[in-house]
């Protein structure tokens, strides 16, 4: 009873926070509802869904979402694993070097996006343009010619430190004696990495992948600040498409149908994450 009362505020607030918007989103997704035109109203059946699912924009956005998530995951997980092995070694000034390399994770997304957009990737005055010219290459106009790639670079830069931070923590629990024994048996560094380090990191890597997926599926600020989803729909992901429908077109019904699709996608990921965490939860 006491336990129930102590948990009641947290549980009831979270329950409300989950159920009320979820039910409203579901309800709206079956309604004709546009904030700009109150004349449009009533039950829409599955119209919002058929409209959305037959709209090429949705599939472009889905494709972009998958490309964004896939590439950022590949870059951050592979890079994070290799960097964790490197930064685990003892070397001069390791503490400070570690601080520098994890810093991007703490930078607010709107700041990261603007530094990259202006100071790094600016086609004329950016550092990258200067470097390209220095080595005799043509400077790239990142956001108009490679919009999605530019977003992938920025987001990877933000999330690589996250992967590194988690994997570095995990690698520290690796048993030194085991590594030493393997070395005695004549295993080279690559064999040790492949047969000892990597299996040891398996759980941490799966946690990193799942947590990143939850955040990467709904990347928003970086797109909002840099390309606004453009040119055309070239860098619009699912989150940004829903935002356009919701707060630029004020199409509540259509946006909600998009929201339901986003929720379904996220939950597929969530099931795996919760299983992994549950396995390691001793109460």
């Amino acid at each position: 009873m006491r336990s129930f009362l102590l948990q009641a505020p947290a549980v009831s607030l979270l329950l409300l926070w989950m159920l009320v918007p979820l039910c409203m989103t579901l309800w709206f997704s079956f309604q004709r509802y546009n904030l700009l035109n109150p004349m449009i109203s009533g039950f829409a059946g599955v119209d919002n869904y058929t409209y959305l699912l037959t709209d090429p924009a949705l599939w472009t956005a889905m494709g972009n979402t998958l490309l964004l998530v896939g590439w950022v995951l590949a870059i951050t997980v592979v890079g994070g694993t290799l960097l964790a092995v490197l930064f685990q070694q003892e070397f001069f000034g390791r503490g400070i070097a570690r601080l520098l390399v994890i810093a991007p994770f703490f930078i607010m997304p709107t700041v990261s996006a603007l530094i990259w957009k202006n100071m790094m990737m600016h086609p004329v005055n950016g550092v990258l343009a200067w470097l390209f010219n220095l080595f005799g290459f043509q400077a790239v106009d990142w956001f108009s010619s490679l919009p999605l790639t530019s977003i992938i670079i920025i987001v990877s830069w933000e999330w690589l430190p996250f992967a590194l931070l988690i994997l570095l923590t995990a690698i520290q629990s690796l048993d030194d004696d085991q590594v030493e024994a393997a070395r005695m048996d004549g295993a080279g560094p690559i064999a040790i990495f492949w047969f000892i380090t990597l299996p040891h990191l398996k759980r941490a890597i799966s946690v990193v992948i799942m947590i990143e997926m939850i955040f990467l599926l709904t990347i928003f600020a970086e797109i909002f600040v840099t390309t606004s989803g453009g040119p055309g729909l070239a860098s619009t992901n699912l989150a940004y498409l829903i935002y356009i429908r919701a707060l630029l077109d004020f199409d509540v019904g259509g946006a909600s149908a998009g929201g339901v699709i986003a929720i379904v996608l996220a939950n597929i990921v969530a099931i795996f994450l919760i299983r992994t965490v549950a396995r390691h939860l001793e109460t």
């Binding site: 006491r2 102590l6 505020p9 947290a10 549980v11 607030l13 979270l14 009320v20 918007p21 979820l22 409203m24 989103t25 960097l83 490197l86 070694q89 070397f91 070097a97 570690r98 520098l100 994890i102 810093a103 991007p104 703490f106 930078i107 607010m108 997304p109 700041v111 603007l114 530094i115 957009k117 100071m119 550092v127 200067w130 830069w157 988690i166 923590t169 629990s173 759980r203 947590i211 709904t218 928003f220 600020a221 600040v225 840099t226 699912l238 989150a239 829903i242 919701a246 707060l247 509540v252 946006a255 929201g259 986003a262 996220a266 969530a270 994450l273 965490v277 549950a278 390691h280 939860l281």
Partner: protein, 273 residues
């Protein structure tokens, strides 16, 4: 012996090179904040220049910068204190009075983090509009509190679990009620854990951009939204943008560095130790 020195040198150089490349955009932004607007856009980029505080002076001279900064402080501290207030009793009961349902409750709380914000943007926007909470600090505080509550409960739970039950039982023998037990025994014992939980919540709230961009316009906008406004033609003023950004990230970067170890626990829900 010789080869081990070479190896060590190679590792040092490689690791430092990577660290400097990764940190470079931040370093460049901090540097640009001390340039004049002319030097900020110079090609080739100027590494050596007469540092000036004019960018900072201009940003601070805008009456609204301080307002945005205060909004960020109020919202992140407010939501964190509220979250701690609600989470401490819940985590206490989960750690010390577990029932068969505790495990399920913990996992369910984690699952609420899986609800993508875009999925509920529309209802929250309409609810806020009807309740008059759009562009209000209290609305943002409530959203951030709910956003962080599961993480805060989880982190506190993992810290509370480490406290030996005997200590609390001894207190109860001496006649302490639940409130005294929590206030005089549990909180002092786990203060470092509570502090790092609070810091993680502050960091997450401070950097949050989705809700702040969509639910605030001017009066309640925190620094994330203010910085985003530089993406308009105003973004041409790089020195000012850099000065404003440096001030916006400095406190969080330092807090993040200080709590990096404990953050791993919170960010992975205790699944990686």
């Amino acid at each position: 012996m010789h080869s081990s020195i070479t190896k060590k040198l190679a590792i040092t150089l490689l690791a430092w090179a990577i660290a400097l490349v990764v940190f470079f955009p931040i370093f460049w932004m901090i540097l640009t904040g001390f340039k004049t607007e002319g030097e900020a856009v110079a090609t080739p980029p100027s590494l050596f220049f007469e540092p000036t505080l004019s960018g900072y002076h201009e940003v601070m001279a805008r009456a609204d910068y301080v307002k945005f900064a205060i909004n960020s402080v109020v919202v992140s501290l407010g939501s964190t204190l509220l979250a701690l207030l609600i989470a401490v009793p819940a985590a206490y009961s989960m750690a010390f009075l577990p029932t068969p349902r505790t495990r399920g409750t913990l996992l369910w709380m984690l699952s609420t983090k899986m609800l993508p914000p875009v999925g509920v943007l529309m209802p929250i926007y309409l609810l806020f509009r009807d309740l008059g909470l759009l562009d209000s600090l209290s609305g943002l505080i409530v959203i951030y509190m709910l956003m962080n509550l599961p993480i805060v409960v989880w982190m506190l739970y993992t810290f509370f679990k480490d406290v030996p039950k005997d200590i609390l039982e001894a207190g109860r023998m001496d006649g302490a009620g639940t409130l005294q037990e929590v206030l005089y025994l549990l909180v002092p014992l786990t203060l470092p854990g509570i502090a790092s939980t609070g810091l993680l919540s502050v960091i997450l709230s401070w950097n949050e951009a989705f809700w702040s961009l969509n639910l605030t316009t001017s009066s309640a906008a925190p620094l994330t939204a203010f910085i985003a406004s530089f993406s308009s033609p105003e973004g041409l003023f790089w020195a000012k943008l850099s000065a404003a950004s440096t001030m916006a990230i400095a406190p969080i970067l330092i807090l993040g560095w200080m709590t990096q170890k404990q953050m791993v626990r919170g960010l992975t829900f205790g699944a990686v130790k």
